[in-house]
């Protein structure tokens, strides 16, 4: 009973956060718009083909992302090699780049618009989700059982399938669920690389709500999207519970091995080179484009005379927002994950599903919902704090999905033992759960920061001139055609890449310093 109350207390903050910033605004906008003509809309052949495309491209994007990411995940999880932490941070870079910039880079590489281009872009964007989420568990699996299996004559493949894979499955499906939701609600990528014929429900919602102000139609679509996402999450969450295996994670230092022999070194470096190389290709386009016009863009960015264009301020503001949004997401996400991991049964499952929903809800629905709902008790609309709050709303699912697989490995007897020895629930959390989950939490926090860094304009937010961020400055520059402004925008995209890699590297580092890598 005591534990139930403790769990309920932990749940209070995330429930209020989610209720006020997600459930209430979305319920309100859906009530206002109504979903009149749901049947009519769902029988429209155009909408049906968009719905079908949304579903299959998200499924294929997810599968492709996992396939492409697995070799790199294996390499960074099994081996200790120079530059490993840089590789783990570098994969996050695409995550923050504005879709306009990436879309144009893809087109510049001669990619033909269509489903293949869309899926390739989704893999490019989401690779980090798999590498980092799965990696945070894989790098801490005790290598002992695997080695025993090999000694007993199991083939490499069989040992992986029967020893490692069952332990990885929860984190693999967690990563898959995030990639799926991201691809499911893809907007900019589909618009730019869709070659006109391919549209997602997200694009349709935007068009109905924004171009035509047909709120009933947009509401019906948003409701359908919400139900579809909830259904997928429900199936996912059921599979998660059945498969959870409690086992002991070891410190990364105990699990990582140096590659032995030329063959292993060759495997490590070729996997890193091929995967990162493919990711660097579009990024390379940005770098070379930033250097066009004799470097005029870089000079423009660093020229103190260029009117009111303050890239340093933009970087500072971006980092500030990222820090605040990341902290909020970390606190809410950790509390939520702890509650979900401890609970079983329906309430806990639906809580988990609701936590994930913001990621699968269209930005228009949430943005318009904020507008019609957040004017009381105090008018949050147009205030600065709404920016990190909105970022955190999208980032919380990352913290939850990154930490939950690890939290679920913790056996209840560990907690009980601590409690029996007289530890308060808070102390149990601090001394039993937190140390074990710290690495996974850092992964989640890194993503939360990255989401905030890359976010631009999904929600109406206030920007006093002094609070411009890097993505908004890129947007500002692209609006004025000219060699200098264009190359400066590309240069700024390069700055964004470096800043992101730096932030993720720093978050990884803080974690291992503060908690001794366990």
């Amino acid at each position: 009973m005591n534990r139930r109350w403790a769990t309920a207390a932990l749940a209070a903050v995330p429930v209020v956060f989610l209720g006020y910033l997600f459930v209430y605004p979305v319920a309100r906008i859906l009530t206002i718009s109504g979903s009149g003509g749901l049947g009519e809309i769902l029988s429209d052949p155009r909408i049906r083909s968009a719905a079908w495309f949304t579903l299959w491209q998200a499924a294929v994007s997810t599968a492709a992302t996992i396939l492409v990411a697995l070799p790199l995940t294996a390499v960074v999880s099994r081996f200790r090699f120079p530059g490993r932490s840089i590789v783990r941070a570098a994969v996050t870079v695409p995550f923050v780049l504005p879709t306009v910039v990436v879309g144009v880079a893809f087109l510049a590489l001669g990619v033909e618009g269509g489903p293949a281009a869309i899926i390739a872009a989704h893999v490019f964007y989401n690779l980090a989700i798999v590498v980092r989420t799965v990696g945070s568990v894989w790098s801490r699996i005790d290598p002992g059982p695997l080695e025993s299996a090999r000694t007993l004559g199991a083939s490499r493949l069989r040992a992986f399938r029967e020893v490692t894979l069952p332990l990885l499955r929860p984190s693999l499906t967690a990563a898959a669920s995030l990639v799926f939701l991201f691809s499911f609600t893809s907007f900019g990528v589909v618009l730019i690389l869709g070659g006109l014929h391919y549209r997602t429900i997200e694009v349709e919602i935007y068009q109905q709500a924004v171009t035509f102000l047909d709120l009933p139609a947009a509401g019906a679509l948003a409701l359908a999207q919400l139900v579809a996402v909830a259904l997928v999450l429900f199936l996912y969450s059921r599979s998660q519970e059945r498969r959870a295996i409690r086992f002991k994670l070891v410190a990364e230092s105990a699990a990582l091995r140096r590659p032995v022999g030329t063959r292993q070194w060759a495997i490590v470096w070729s996997v890193v080179a091929v995967t990162l190389g493919a990711q660097l290709l579009p990024l390379g386009v940005l770098v070379t484009r930033s250097l066009r016009a004799g470097g005029a863009g870089w000079r423009y960015l660093t020229d103190p005379g260029a009117s009111a264009l303050r890239p340093i301020d933009a970087v500072t503001n971006t980092l500030l927002f990222a820090a605040v949004a990341g902290s909020i997401a970390l606190i809410i996400g950790m509390l939520s994950a702890t509650v979900v991991a401890r609970g079983t049964g329906r309430i806990s499952r639906w809580f988990d599903i609701t936590l994930m929903l913001p990621l699968g809800t269209s930005a228009v629905t949430i943005g318009f919902g904020f507008l019609v709902a957040l004017d009381r008790p105090i008018d949050l609309r147009g205030t600065l704090i709404l920016v990190p709050l909105a970022h955190a709303l999208v980032a919380v699912p990352f913290v939850v999905r990154a930490t939950l697989p690890t939290l679920r490995t913790i056996r209840a007897d560990l907690r009980d033992a601590a409690a029996v020895l007289g530890a308060s629930p808070a102390r149990v959390w601090r001394e039993v759960e937190l140390p074990i989950v710290a690495r996974a939490a850092a992964v989640g926090a890194g993503f939360a920061a990255a989401i905030s860094i890359g976010e631009f304009g999904a929600t109406a937010f206030i920007v006093r001139p002094g609070t411009i961020t890097v993505p908004t400055l890129i947007f500002r520059l692209l609006g004025r055609p000219g060699a200098v402004t264009y190359t400066a925008a590309m240069a700024l995209a390069v700055v964004l890449m470096v800043v992101t890699a730096g932030v993720v590297l720093a978050v990884d580092h803080v974690r291992s310093d503060a908690l001794g890598d366990f």
Binding site: G19, Y20, L107, V210, P377, G382, P465, A483, T485, Y486
Partner: protein
């Protein structure tokens, strides 16, 4: 249990909303801050200096609230009618004007400075014209000489320009919609569809937005189309933001077949700061602000007293006879036109 809490929150929230929705503030309240709702493109040009003179004169500072593209902005303003997020809205154009007027989101205001604005820009007592711009075809001078460039819209169906034109999708892009409206204004309800069929036969390319069309498809930036739907002022921007000083713009404007977009400012119904809002609109029409418009947003000032910068005088033209359509006609037909256009261009 958590579900119950969420349900409870919802009920409480709804009840609170129901109690307070109807009250609207109309009396003037003194303020030191005004909120200006605008589209992303305008907001993209705002700096510390933009409203500094206004703040110095009146003691009122201006918060700028970006709200997506012009359509998204108008719809957000309509959605928040009962509880406005801002005091003044700027950036609504002819395309979405009727929708906003019908929704009753603006209060009438007539600025004394309107005398200095050409009558042709004025539309309604509730909206004040601040600037105008023309969506025009641009051509890459590296790909064709001025003599070879198309002279008007009808040239675009000529075999000489096969595969050379990129336009933006009117469903997702403001200049794309303007270009579609230009063809409707030119060829009429009966003629625009055959015209677009000929454009399709001539290999017109469609991009989702201006950025992609200009930076990915236009030959000037490494693409394959030498004609792009852009703005009359784009060549001036190319000169001003050129890496080395140049005398002539690398791109040219096809003066015929341009579509005129006027941008208006308006006082939002429900603002408790009407007098301050009037002052802000007056400021935006003042010579000082108007003269900052061309080089910041690359559109033309509405106030005839405002002088144009030399780069504008030399590198752009103001089309003498731009195409236009009546806002109420646009509002009544927009969705159908876009749907019919999609049928033709995206079969």
């Amino acid at each position: 249990m958590k579900l119950k809490i969420i349900a409870l929150l919802l009920v409480v929230g709804m009840a609170l909303t129901a109690c307070t929705t109807e009250e609207q503030q109309t009396t003037e309240q003194p303020t030191d801050t005004l909120t200006l709702m605008t589209h992303d493109s305008f907001w993209g040009g705002v700096t510390d200096d933009t409203f500094a003179a206004f703040t110095a004169d009146t003691g009122i500072s201006v918060k700028v609230l970006p709200a997506g593209d012009a359509g998204a902005m108008v719809n957000q303003a309509i959605l928040t009618k009962a509880s406005p997020v801002a005091d003044v809205l700027f950036g609504i154009d002819d395309t979405f004007l009727s929708r906003a007027l019908e929704a009753g989101i603006f209060l009438p205001y007539r600025s004394g400075l309107l005398d200095r604005v050409p009558d042709s820009l004025e539309m309604d007592e509730r909206v004040t014209p601040i600037d105008f711009g023309d969506v025009c075809l641009n051509y890459d001078r590296a790909a064709m000489s001025d003599a070879d460039a198309p002279k008007d819209l009808s040239d675009l169906t000529d075999a000489r320009f096969a595969g050379q034109l990129v336009v933006e999708n009117p469903a997702t892009s403001s200049p794309g919609l303007a270009f579609l409206l230009a063809t409707i204004a030119r060829y009429g309800e009966d003629g625009w569809q055959p015209y677009w069929q000929s454009l399709v036969a001539n290999g017109v390319k469609v991009s989702p937005d201006w950025d992609t069309a200009y930076y990915a498809d236009f030959t000037r930036w490494g693409g394959e189309q030498s004609l792009v739907v852009s703005y009359a002022s784009s060549p001036a921007a190319e000169v001003i933001y050129s890496e080395t000083p140049i005398d002539t713009a690398p791109t040219g404007v096809v003066v015929d077949g341009c579509y005129r977009q006027t941008e208006f400012a308006a006082v939002l119904n429900g603002t408790p700061h009407q007098n301050a809002a009037h002052k802000l609109i007056d400021f935006m029409l003042s010579k000082q602000f108007q003269e900052s418009i061309p080089l910041t947003w690359f559109v033309f000032p509405a106030n005839e007293d405002a002088a144009l910068p030399p780069a504008f005088v030399e590198n752009t033209v103001i089309p003498t006879n731009p195409l236009r359509l009546d806002p109420s006609l646009i509002e009544a037909n927009r969705e159908r036109w876009i749907a019919e256009w999609s049928q033709i261009v995206i079969p």
